[in-house]
């Protein structure tokens, strides 16, 4: 089963470095966007929003999951980006509404494009 990575922030784990499919940043190896892997569980990366199917076997498995759970590719990718920003579940609604895009180092909200002063919270405008 094959999949192609679509995110640049996936640290390589458990396999030897391969400069043709990986890149080194800050002393760590990351999968390149567009790198392909072959693994019996590659479909899990696709439904997680980390990769796209690269063969029919993976495509069928992913499509079956998406249809069963009513989740589109766009939804998976959006949720994965939310995850990458470390959004806590209590703030999911605010993030999804575009009110926040993450957290500052002091824990205050980073304002999103739909931030309103009615929130009554302070944060930097980093949209």
């Amino acid at each position: 089963m094959k999949a192609t990575f679509i995110r640049p922030d996936l640290v390589v784990s458990g396999v030897a470095p391969d400069a043709s499919r990986m890149e080194q940043r800050d002393g760590r190896w990351y999968w390149r966007v567009g790198a392909q892997i072959e693994n019996p569980r590659a479909y899990l990366l696709c439904i997680n929003g980390d990769a796209d199917p690269a063969d029919e076997e993976c495509q069928e498995r992913v499509e079956a999951w998406r249809q069963r759970h009513g989740v589109t590719r766009k939804m998976s990718i959006s949720a994965r980006e939310r995850l990458a920003r470390g959004i806590h579940p209590v703030d999911f609604d605010r993030y999804d509404a575009g009110e926040i895009i993450g957290y500052n180092a002091d824990g205050s909200y980073k304002r999103g494009p739909n931030w309103t002063d009615d929130d009554g919270s302070e944060g930097d405008d980093d949209a």
């Binding site: 996936l10 590659a42 899990l44 997680n48 990458a84 806590h88």
Partner: protein, 138 residues
């Protein structure tokens, strides 16, 4: 020197040779690593204080986390897979500090349980027994 907040902390697990984030995590804890010692007091120990000596071994402890459980999510499926088919797995905690420092570890055993409460979302708790030690960022 600064106080690091916890919002923004990301827990990652290895899926198909990639470290990817686990969704909907609420809390994470590590019950502590302990460098083991043995009591080495002898009859000719001077003073009243008992002596202890390091064995050279350190217990890595366990990492636990609670999350809103969705059986459909890839990361959550991987956790239950490790219960039904035990396997070691690489994990990484990325803290919310400005340098996004991380702590990496390998789980040797997984325990999983869930709680159904009509006044709350479906939640699950996981405990990961560490193989050897967590790698702390230095």
């Amino acid at each position: 020197m600064s106080k690091v907040v916890c919002k923004g902390t990301v827990l990652k697990q290895e899926i198909s040779s990639a470290l990817t984030a686990v969704a909907q995590v609420l809390t994470i804890d590590h019950d502590g690593a302990e460098a083991e010692t043995f009591e080495s007091t002898t009859l000719d120990t001077t003073g009243a204080g008992k002596e202890h000596t390091a064995t050279g071994y350190t217990e890595g402890g366990s990492v636990g986390f609670e999350f809103f459980y969705d059986p459909a999510l890839a990361g959550h499926q991987t956790i239950t897979d490790d219960v039904t088919t035990p396997a070691e797995r690489n994990w990484e905690l990325t803290f919310a500090d400005s340098g996004t420092t991380s702590a990496a570890f390998t789980s040797a055993g997984t325990s999983f349980g869930f709680n159904v409460d009509p006044n709350d979302g479906l939640k699950a708790s996981v405990s990961l027994k560490l193989d050897q030690l967590m790698t702390y960022s230095t």
